[in-house]
Subunit: 408 residues, 2 copies
């Protein structure tokens, strides 16, 4: 029997580690011959674009390098599988690829859209009487998948964000004039990653002085009041804001996002950080700047979390085992057993419990003022960022696993 | 005799290491009693705001933590010392502080503006017959100081930029559609930091496919042609651009740069990345994004260069020695003896040879097409990013030296 692996959705630091986990378990399983990688997620299954991973990942060093390499080695896609009734041909194409290459197990590493694919594809295969099994492995820096305690990729993103925000705190503290610094953090509609900056308090930092999440009630008027209150206490006020915050009520942010146009006539599509920066400049008039941590949040493997990378590999291994035991249409997940000592078990759930759903940051961990995160959240976050990998360096720079030429 | 140290200009990863160098050498010098830190650069000397560094930096661990802590522990300023003829009172205030605290040596760590202060203050002190000595220690991530082979702070910035650009290369490679990613890199009017991304070629990377510097002849028309040519060869085109690029001739970007200037008359530079992003969107119409590495370039100590930090400490120690030997009005600098094996000597030059001057990236290292950096530059850059510090971690995050409460 052969197996196939694919990666989907946005890049993370841990998605290649999950690939390595499946791959290693595949090597250790006698009944498995070829281990295929599907290029660009499910698209490679539709178009029969597979590569033989054993010909690319040859040594233990290759596996370690791949664990440390961010982004998706096999490429990615944002392709949403249509319903079978709408487009049966797509399903037949996928089945043909699976059948041609004698693939008995398909492991899909991705977020909640990818779990939708796991649900649909496994249902189709069962429907046609095939015993090919489909298992999902979670990943996303947004940490917004239901059921699982946390998602692979999140811990490394949180570790990078914490280290960078701490360094920005130092950077902002040098001048004698009052200032406000707004740091825009990823997370889509959930505030997990922005909230995780509360961990810095465990190392004695007071900042970020304000943290705003999509789950908190945000008002621009209240925001300015909050900033003024913090400016009375701190020379350099640091604000962490989730990219997905929304205003409720009268004071709408729309006016700030759709104002000016550039010389090409394009609207300035600025993010929430820039918006808040202009708001502070306009209403308070002090020195203010906004910083976007941008894609570095999801790909800064040089400071990845060892806990995250090790767990990502482990959940990949478990996924293949679960498939070989006959399961299909499932997603593997972490159940936290204890914070101290930190311990998780790996279990499985119906992928349908996860597909297309979002898990939000708990309201109980948001301060009554809606502008901070409580200490209880620190105990949740801290275990996820523990430990550093022994990063392989050459010429003073990290070494990445290089994809074969035909994939570049 | 007592001594005083101050830090000035923009934050770097290495400026505290130079402080530690002066401090350690001070501890080891029998004739030196108190070691004062001047708060916020020369402003602390004018306003008599000094702290006793021995009461703050108490242990070897403190010194190691401070070496690893980015930004300026003593605060900073952008204060430009007026000419003596214009404002003698300022000089008298500084002298009073020096005299009151029996300070025989003043070490100023900073960039070319700070060297202007070293020139003026040392001249004044000699003029009034004082034997108080003033020595400058270079620092800037821009690497734009004359005379010295390179500046402390640059190597760490280059290491962060290389690692991040490499990770962004991975991040950009996942989707199957063609894309252009523009990374805006600091450096003011000099292209050293953007140019240093050529080092990635030493690790087998082809990207950045295009590198634009203030020293290269830039034209928007040619830029679009360059990008189109690279798009024919690569799915994900990566462009590194220095924040200070300027157009010559008809297609002017002046409108995209803010007219604001700082107290030294320097223009605030921002937005070149966004400008080029809009240009690509308008003229080519493909998927395009721009990324600003922002202040993380100058404060990401978690991936600092050991060579840089060690050299920064060493040049601080040499500065104090030079002062004790009777020198004044000098700046310490690195002379490179050899690339392989890498070796530098530390010497001194008149601060006047450096003050208010800029060293540009050599034209001979820019490709004839004005859009790349030649391999010869790699040999210059590589030694500066070698080695990693053993970063002290607590709770999965770097530990920073915390300033005393009165300074926060």
């Amino acid at each position: 029997m052969n197996i196939a692996i694919a990666q989907s959705g946005g890049p993370t630091c841990a998605i290649n580690a999950s690939l390595v986990g499946v791959f290693k378990q595949g090597l250790l399983t006698e009944e498995i011959d070829a281990i295929f990688g599907s290029i660009n997620g499910i698209e490679g299954m539709i178009g029969d674009e597979l590569i033989n991973l054993k010909s690319i990942i040859r040594t233990n060093e290759d596996m370690e390098l791949l664990r440390q390499t961010p982004s998706t080695m096999l490429g990615s896609c944002r392709y949403k599988l249509p319903d079978y009734d709408t487009d049966p041909v797509i399903y037949e194409k996928i089945y043909k690829t699976l059948d041609t290459h004698r693939i008995g197990v398909f492991i899909y590493i991705g977020g909640n859209d990818s779990m939708d694919t796991v649900v649909k594809l496994s249902a189709y295969l069962q429907h046609i009487g095939s015993d090919i099994r489909v298992i999902g492995v979670p990943k996303t820096i947004d940490n917004d998948l239901p059921v699982t305690d946390h998602t692979p990729g999140f811990g490394s993103a949180a570790k990078y964000v914490a280290a960078s925000v701490q360094e920005i705190i130092r950077d902002c503290s040098v001048y004698s004039i009052p200032s406000v610094t707004i740091i825009e953090i990823m997370g889509r509609h959930s505030g997990w990653l922005a909230a995780s900056t509360c961990m810095l308090r465990a190392n004695g930092e007071e900042a970020p002085h304000l943290i705003y999440l999509p789950e908190s009630d945000f008002s621009a008027v209240q925001f300015i009041e909050d900033v003024e209150k913090e400016m009375a206490k701190h020379k350099a006020v640091i604000v962490a804001v989730s990219e997905g915050i929304e205003t409720k009520g009268a004071d709408d942010m729309a006016e700030f996002q759709s104002g000016a146009t550039d010389v090409f006539g394009h609207k300035y599509l600025s993010g929430v950080g820039k918006y808040l920066e202009r708001l502070v400049a306009d209403k308070i008039g002090c020195k203010v700047r906004s910083i976007e941590l941008n894609v570095m949040q999801r790909c800064s493997s040089h400071i990845c979390s060892k806990t995250d990378i090790d767990e990502a590999e482990r959940i990949g291994r478990h996924a293949l085992r679960a498939a070989l035991e006959g399961n299909t249409g499932k997603m593997m997940f972490f159940r936290r057993v204890s914070d101290i000592p930190y311990a998780v078990t790996i279990e499985m759930t119906d992928a349908a419990d996860v597909a297309n759903l979002e898990k939000h940051f708990p309201k109980k961990w948001i301060s009554p003022e809606q502008n901070q995160v409580t200490d209880a959240a620190i105990a949740y976050f801290l275990p996820l960022v523990q430990g550093e990998l022994d990063i392989c360096m050459r010429n003073g720079m990290p070494v990445h696993f290089q994809r074969p030429l035909q994939m570049r």
